[in-house]
C-alpha cells in the first residue's frame, strides 16, 4: 500500500461526494481585482473542507480555470507547466471535436464557460439542508457586492436531492472507483496518481504535476519538486465540470413509441434497470421492479455477453466503462480500460419531474463533475474513443444513446438479439450541454500559495 495520503492538504471532494449532504450549489465567479481576490482567497483557504472525512453539515471546495489562475496573478511560465487540455480550456476547436460539442452543443450556445460568459473560479457548496445552503449563497452574494475582488457570474443551484436516482429515473453513480486505500469497499480501486497530481499513477510513475520556479515561492509554501522547482499540483487534481440538461419527457416519450415495453428499451439504452441492477446479470426484468429498492451491483464483466444480447454493446454504461470487452484478451482489455476511469462527483439539479412524459417547461439535469490527474487520458478519452465513437466495439454508425453527439433525431441504436438484432431508429438528443469548463482543484497548500501571489 502507498504511503498515507495527506488528508489535511487534499480537498474533501476528492475522497467523497458528500453523499450525506443532500443540497448543493456551484457559484461561478470572475476575478475583478486580483489583490482583493487573493486576500479573500486567503480567508477562504481556512474554510475549505479537507479530506479527513469528518461528517460536517456544510462543505466547501474551490477550483480555478486557467483564466482564473492568470487573473489571480500566476505567471505565464508556471501556467505552461499545466496539462494542455486544461490550458486549452473546454471550448477550443480541437477539444470540441474530441468532446462531441457540435450541433446544438457548440460552446457558443452555452450559458457559461464560453467566450461570452467566461468563468474563473467555481465555489462548490454542499449543505445538510436547504436553509444552510441558501444562507451561504446569499452571504457570498452580499460579500461580493461589498467588494472582495470577485464578482458572481452565475449560481448553479442544485437544490435538494434525496437518493441517487438521476432525472431519467435510474440509480446513478454506481461504478465509481475509489482511491487505493481510502474506502472500505476495496473492490474497485485506482492508484492515487490516477486522481492526485504528483502521486504514483497506473504507469508506476508520479502523475505529471504543474510547478513554479523556486524563486517564485520564497516562503516555501509548496513542497519541493527538485530541479529548482516547487510543486504546485501535488495533492491537487483537475476537475471537469459539464452542466448537462436532461429532457426527461423526450427520453420517455421516445422509448414509449419505439417499443412495447418502454422500461425495457430504456434499460437497454442505459445498461442497467432503474434500480441500478445491471442487465448483464438481470437480462429479463428489474429484480427491484416492485419493491422500490436500489441495487449497487457492480462486480460483473461482459464475458458471458460478448455479443451484447443481454446488455447492448452500445449501452451507456458499456460504452463509458467497457470493462473487459475491448480486445481479444479480457484481462488485458480490463487493464487497458482501467486507465480511463472517471471519479465522478456530479449531482442532479432541478426538480424531479411529476409526469415523466409531460413537458413542464422546467430545466433539470446533471451537474456532471469528474476528478482526475489526466484530462486527456481520462475524460476526453472516454468522450472521444468511447462515447462519440461511431464504430465503438464493432458497432457501425451510432454514438452513446444518452450523451453522444446525436444530431437531429436521426440516430440509431442497435439492440443485439437472438438470432437477429433490432435497430432502433430516429434516436433524438436527450441531453444538451449548457455550460462547462476545465478546472484545477488545488491542494490546500496550493490555495494558500495562490492567495500569497
Amino acid at each position: 500500500m502507498a504511503t498515507e495520503l495527506e488528508r489535511l492538504d487534499i480537498q474533501g471532494i476528492v475522497f467523497s461526494g458528500y453523499g450525506h449532504l443532500e443540497c448543493s450549489a456551484y457559484q461561478l465567479l470572475r476575478v475583478t481585482d486580483a489583490k482583493a481576490a487573493r486576500e479573500w482567497l486567503g480567508w477562504l483557504a481556512g474554510s475549505i473542507t479537507d479530506a479527513r472525512g469528518k461528517k460536517e453539515t456544510f462543505c466547501r471546495n474551490v477550483a480555478f480555470t486557467v483564466n482564473g489562475l492568470k487573473a489571480l496573478g500566476l505567471d505565464d511560465e508556471s501556467l505552461t507547466t499545466f496539462a494542455w487540455p486544461f490550458r486549452d480550456g473546454m471550448t477550443s476547436e480541437h477539444r470540441q471535436r474530441i468532446l462531441g460539442d457540435t450541433d446544438v452543443n457548440v460552446p457558443g450556445n452555452w450559458q457559461w464557460g464560453n467566450d461570452t460568459t467566461p468563468v474563473h473560479i467555481v465555489l462548490m457548496i454542499f449543505a445538510a439542508n436547504i436553509d444552510l445552503l441558501n444562507g451561504e449563497i446569499a452571504q457570498n452574494k452580499e460579500k461580493m457586492l461589498q467588494g472582495i475582488g470577485v464578482e458572481l457570474v452565475k449560481t448553479l443551484g442544485g437544490g435538494r436531492h434525496e437518493g441517487t436516482r438521476e432525472h431519467f429515473g435510474f440509480n446513478d453513480g454506481i461504478a465509481n472507483p475509489s482511491i487505493e486505500g481510502t474506502s472500505r469497499d476495496r473492490s474497485d480501486e485506482i492508484k492515487p496518481g490516477e486522481v492526485l497530481l504528483g502521486h504514483e499513477d497506473d504507469y508506476g510513475g508520479p502523475s505529471p504535476s504543474p510547478s513554479v520556479a523556486s524563486a517564485r515561492d520564497p516562503k516555501k509554501l509548496l513542497p519541493d519538486a527538485g530541479r529548482g522547482r516547487r510543486d504546485l499540483g501535488f495533492n491537487g487534481s483537475y476537475l471537469v465540470f459539464r452542466q448537462m440538461e436532461q429532457d426527461v419527457p423526450a427520453f420517455w416519450n421516445f422509448v414509449q413509441q419505439a417499443h412495447d415495453d418502454a422500461n425495457k428499451l430504456a434499460a437497454k439504452l442505459i445498461g442497467r434497470w432503474p434500480s441500478g441492477a445491471p442487465l448483464v446479470t438481470h437480462p429479463d426484468a428489474d429484480p427491484h421492479a416492485t419493491d422500490g429498492q436500489l441495487s449497487t451491483e457492480d462486480g460483473f464483466d461482459y464475458q458471458s455477453d460478448t455479443l451484447g444480447v443481454k446488455c447492448p454493446i452500445g449501452a451507456h454504461i458499456r460504452r463509458t466503462n467497457p470493462r473487459d470487452t475491448l480486445g481479444p484478451d479480457p484481462q488485458t482489455a480490463k487493464k487497458s480500460a482501467n486507465r480511463h476511469r472517471l471519479l465522478r462527483r456530479g449531482r442532479s439539479y432541478g426538480h424531479i419531474i411529476e409526469d415523466r412524459t409531460k413537458p413542464d417547461g422546467q430545466e433539470r439535469g446533471l451537474h456532471f463533475i469528474c476528478i482526475g490527474s489526466d484530462i486527456a487520458r481520462q475524460f476526453e478519452f472516454v468522450q472521444q474513443q468511447w462515447v462519440n465513437n461511431t464504430v465503438f466495439g464493432g458497432l457501425y454508425s451510432e454514438v452513446d444513446p444518452l450523451i453522444g453527439d446525436q444530431t437531429r433525431c436521426n440516430g440509431i441504436f442497435t439492440v443485439p438479439g437472438d438470432p437477429l438484432r433490432t435497430r432502433v431508429p430516429n434516436l433524438c438528443r436527450f441531453t444538451t450541454i449548457r455550460g462547462g469548463a476545465y478546472f484545477f482543484l488545488p491542494s490546500l497548500r496550493a490555495i494558500k500559495y495562490i492567495a500569497s501571489l
Partner: protein, 416 residues
C-alpha cells in the same frame, strides 16, 4: 507475394522550395476529396496514401509519398496516379532535388521509380482484400442490414438466413456475392511460412556456431542499454498542436501517423535495427493474420530504415484516436514494438531489445509524440470502415451461400 504493396517514395526537397511545397500540399490536404490536383479517389487500387515533409537537421527536408495499394506492380500503380495527377506530381517533384522532368508522364514515373523505398517490415490489417472488394462487401452488408430491419427478430435462424439469401439473389447489384472471394493462393499463404522456418533453422545453426560472438554481443547490448540516454524532454507544443488539430478533423474513423526517428550511432546498433526489422517482417508475413501484435485496428503500417541505416521511418493508418493507438502499443504490443524502436535515439530504457521500452507509458507517449510529424496530405479509400468492420463484412459474405446448421446460421445472423 502478397496481394498488397506497401511502400514510399522519398525525395530530398529543395531548401528554397520547402515553404511553397508545404503550402501546396496543405491546400490539397484540406480538401482531400474535392481537390482537382490529386484526385486520389480516381486511383482504383489505392487504399491509403500520405504526403509528408520531414525536417532533418542533417539531410535537410525530405518529402515522402506513402502508398498502400493492390497488386504488386508499382509501374501500373504509378500509371494510375499519373493518369489523374500527372501535372500535380510534376509540380510537386519539381520542388525536390534532382528532378529533371519536363512534365512528360514517363519521366515523372522514372523519377519516382528511382526514389522508391520498400519497407523493411510492413503490416496489412485486411490481407487479401482489394479496395474494390472491401467496398463491395460493405455494400452487401448495408443492403442486408436494411433488409433485416423488416424481418422477425426471433424467427428460425435458417429461415431468416434463407430469406436473406433470396434477397441477395434478387438484387443485380449484389451479384458478386454469389461467388466465393479469393483469399490468396496456396503459395502466397505458405511460402512465407516455409521461408520463416528455414530462416530459423539457419539462424539457430549460425548462432550455435558463433556462440562466443553472440554472448559477447549480448553483453555489449546490455551495457549499451544500461548507459544509452533516454529522452526526458518535453514535447514541442506548437508542433503537437498542429498535429492535434488534424485529428478526427474530417470525422472519419481512422487516423494517420508519420514519424521519423534517428537510429543510434554505430554499426552495432544499425545492424541490430535491420535485424529486428527482418524478424518483424517474417512475423508480419507469417503469423499476424491481420492483427499487429494483438492490435486489431491497424490497416497498414510500415517501417523503413533509410539514410544508410541512420533513420527509421514509420507510417501507420489506424482506427481510433492517437491516445488510444498509443495505449494499445503500451498495453497490448509493448514487446514487439519495443523491439522495433529499441535501437532509436532517446527511446525509453529497454532490456535485451524487446523488454521494457514502451511499457514506460508516459515516456513512450512523449517520445512518440515528439517524433511524429504532421501529415500534410492523407487519403483513405474507405473512411468509415474499421479493420473490425471490414473483417465482419468479409465473414458475412464468405458464409452467405450454401446451407449450414441452425447454430451456425444463428452465429452468422449475429454478425449483423
Amino acid at each position: 507475394m502478397s496481394t498488397h504493396t506497401v511502400l514510399s517514395f522519398i525525395t530530398p526537397v529543395k531548401a528554397e522550395a520547402e515553404k511553397e511545397l508545404t503550402d501546396y500540399l496543405t491546400k490539397i490536404g484540406e480538401d482531400i476529396e474535392g481537390n482537382t490536383e490529386i484526385p486520389f479517389s480516381r486511383m482504383p487500387s489505392l487504399h491509403f496514401a500520405s504526403l509528408v515533409i520531414f525536417p532533418d537537421p542533417d539531410y535537410g527536408p525530405y518529402l515522402t509519398f506513402e502508398a498502400n495499394f493492390d497488386g504488386d506492380d508499382v509501374g501500373r500503380f504509378l500509371d494510375e496516379v499519373l493518369a489523374v495527377a500527372g501535372p500535380a506530381m510534376h509540380r510537386i517533384y519539381g520542388m525536390t532535388k534532382d528532378y529533371r522532368g519536363s512534365g512528360a508522364v514517363a519521366e515523372t514515373k522514372a523519377f519516382l521509380l528511382a526514389h522508391l523505398q520498400r519497407p523493411g517490415a510492413y503490416h496489412v490489417g485486411t490481407p487479401w482484400r482489394t479496395v474494390g472488394r472491401i467496398r463491395e462487401e460493405d455494400t452487401l452488408r448495408n443492403a442486408i442490414e436494411d433488409h433485416a430491419d423488416g424481418l422477425p427478430k426471433n424467427g428460425q435462424p435458417n429461415a431468416l438466413r434463407k430469406d436473406i439469401q433470396n434477397f441477395v439473389r434478387s438484387r443485380d447489384d449484389l451479384k458478386f456475392a454469389q461467388t466465393a472471394p479469393v483469399t490468396g493462393t496456396w503459395a502466397q499463404r505458405n511460402v512465407p511460412k516455409i521461408k520463416w522456418f528455414a530462416f530459423r533453422v539457419v539462424g539457430v545453426l549460425v548462432a550455435l556456431l558463433l556462440l562466443p560472438v553472440v554472448v559477447i554481443a549480448a553483453i555489449w547490448l546490455r551495457i549499451k542499454e544500461a548507459t544509452d540516454a533516454v529522452w526526458m524532454g518535453e514535447v514541442d507544443e506548437s508542433r503537437w498542436r498542429a498535429i492535434g488539430a488534424k485529428e478526427d478533423k474530417y470525422r472519419i474513423v481512422q487516423n494517420h501517423m508519420a514519424s521519423l526517428t534517428a537510429v543510434k550511432n554505430g554499426c552495432f546498433r544499425r545492424a541490430l535495427q535491420r535485424g529486428v526489422l527482418v524478424l518483424a517482417e517474417f512475423g508480419a508475413r507469417t503469423s499476424t493474420n491481420g492483427t499487429l501484435s494483438n492490435i486489431p485496428s491497424i490497416h497498414f503500417a510500415h517501417w523503413s530504415v533509410i539514410d544508410n541505416g541512420k533513420r527509421l521511418l514509420f507510417f501507420s493508418n489506424f482506427d481510433g484516436s492517437w491516445e488510444n493507438y498509443l495505449d494499445d502499443f503500451i498495453d497490448k504490443a509493448a514487446t514487439g514494438l519495443t523491439g522495433i524502436w529499441s535501437c532509436t535515439v532517446g527511446f525509453p530504457r529497454t532490456y535485451f531489445l524487446f523488454w521494457g521500452g514502451a511499457t514506460d507509458g508516459p515516456r513512450f507517449k512523449a517520445i512518440a509524440k515528439e517524433k511524429q510529424t504532421p501529415t500534410l496530405v492523407w487519403y483513405s479509400a474507405y473512411k468509415n470502415l474499421t479493420v473490425q468492420t471490414i473483417n465482419k463484412n468479409t465473414e458475412l459474405r464468405a458464409k452467405l451461400n450454401g446451407g449450414m446448421s441452425d447454430a451456425d446460421a444463428r452465429a452468422w445472423l449475429q454478425l449483423l
